[in-house]
Symmetry: C2
Amino acid sequence: MNRIDFAHGRVDLSHGSGGRAMARLIEQLFVAEFDNGYLGAQHDGAALPMPPAGCRLILATDSHVVSPLFFPGGDIGSLAVHGTVNDVAMCGGTPLYLTAGFILEEGFPLADLRRIVQSMAAAAREAGVAIVTGDTKVVQQGKGDGVFISTTGVGYAPASINITPRRIRPGDKILLSGHLGDHGVAIMSLRENLGFETALQSDSAALHTLVADMLRAVPDLRCLRDPTRGGLAAVLNEFALQAGCGMRIRESALPIRQEVTAACELLGLDPLYVANEGKLVAVCAPEDADTLLAAMRAHPQGRDAAIIGEAIADANQFVQMETAFGGKRMVDWINGEQLPRIC
Amino acid sequence: MNRIDFAHGRVDLSHGSGGRAMARLIEQLFVAEFDNGYLGAQHDGAALPMPPAGCRLILATDSHVVSPLFFPGGDIGSLAVHGTVNDVAMCGGTPLYLTAGFILEEGFPLADLRRIVQSMAAAAREAGVAIVTGDTKVVQQGKGDGVFISTTGVGYAPASINITPRRIRPGDKILLSGHLGDHGVAIMSLRENLGFETALQSDSAALHTLVADMLRAVPDLRCLRDPTRGGLAAVLNEFALQAGCGMRIRESALPIRQEVTAACELLGLDPLYVANEGKLVAVCAPEDADTLLAAMRAHPQGRDAAIIGEAIADANQFVQMETAFGGKRMVDWINGEQLPRIC
């Protein structure tokens, strides 16, 4: 088959036709870059070694529509891998396989698509997962927005692990793995042309090795979740609702970079609601908190981890914050949308 | 939480925000309709019983961008379930779980979204699979097209099954499970306002029980594939390329409805290239062909099955058709795109 001109070519409808152009794109881009025998078999799906018996199968899925597609610290490709690996990890799972579905807009530069696919491939290699099967669709110009990527992650977790907000009890400690708001502010700065680009990078990263270390230290972890869309506020409100108790955090304990605080003030954002792509929130029994914190701080991705608050008895399931000035503030669910298409 | 007004409401950006509106949509629509404990756990992913040990894990994924969203015989929701169940089945797999990622366009009527989700739920129930985890994103008006749905299917197959075009040998028989072109022509008729709507329906259907019957009858089946985008022509050319041999089919053996032939003539389409969503192509050893055909015909979805040709030795890997008039015609890969967004 002829070589695709990746330097000058653009996506056209024939790349989604099921014909020769699509076969060529799959062969010369996806199979070449993702580079594993499962995808190379080029069947309608992949036949894979079964995860260990006696474990639970972990499944997670995400559709990625981030805009812009490229941003400091990553792009939609690396984000798609990290986001789905992290969702598997938040279930206590060891990720094994990813699937990837691409919805491409007619006219999108093939050079950009290749850059995104290469970034996905690198992120998957680094995370130790294989992108084993996929799909490509093309929509007419004006019916999409460059590239959307849907990824599904498959992994496994020991049957003994029981990570769910329903196990959270009043008195349990809330831990955060690092600085809040880097991803959301990096993207918003770019959108608003604020020139923070060099200073602030997305924190987009795969967290499964951090989670593995945490579970080794505290196998009885109550719950894990990554504060993406809706930020820390959304996670704590979900926890409160599902656990049937309240949550109290301390503003002074929250790790937030000075640049993020400054940018949030300028942009009218609240860092509690800003998306993160390489952070996690954990809840554990109070007697496990120090052990868990030590395990997190011993991992590069948990270096700045902190105990930020605790679950409390509250029939109203409110999330409250003790402010730096000693006052109290409600941290409600976000209403409306402050950061569309952040992931 | 307040009830969503599904009758009059529209998708807005807050439905993808990670906040209260999104939580409400997930709870009142997806969790309510898909109705299973895994999704009900509302975690970042699902923890599931592992498929049987000693089997292979089967994974398949599809992004669906069909336009229009509703068509005679189905809609994007049922199509998304059938398409992915079928991709698992084409690997010889028994489907167990589905994931679903929605990319919604701002302004899309919630009534239509509910109709699509209900149709997905019904199709999943009928196929005996559970939609266990999902994701919802919203893009601004003009950056999407109503609804895109990405589905991933997970299943298992006995380790002994080895379904791959690489096993096809000259002399092997090619079987087709039923009439060609129904899906593509039903959609094109609707788009072109041709008024065939009442007569012609999409063949969209889940084929996994047909495949199970076929594998029971002929466990050594060489290959299976569903002729979706690019139609029968694409499947046969893929087989030829991957098997390193030629393919010869007989026009007179192809089951095609009269309405499809007529519509194709009117629309300038060739039924060999038109998408199907409830048909499969199988290849088996010549001595197994009658047994396989009998097993297919005994299943409601294989009632009109036929042996349509055979693999032949051909270093050029050409696909040829003996025409009804006794001539010969090349059946090349499709060039360009005759039916954009057919699935």
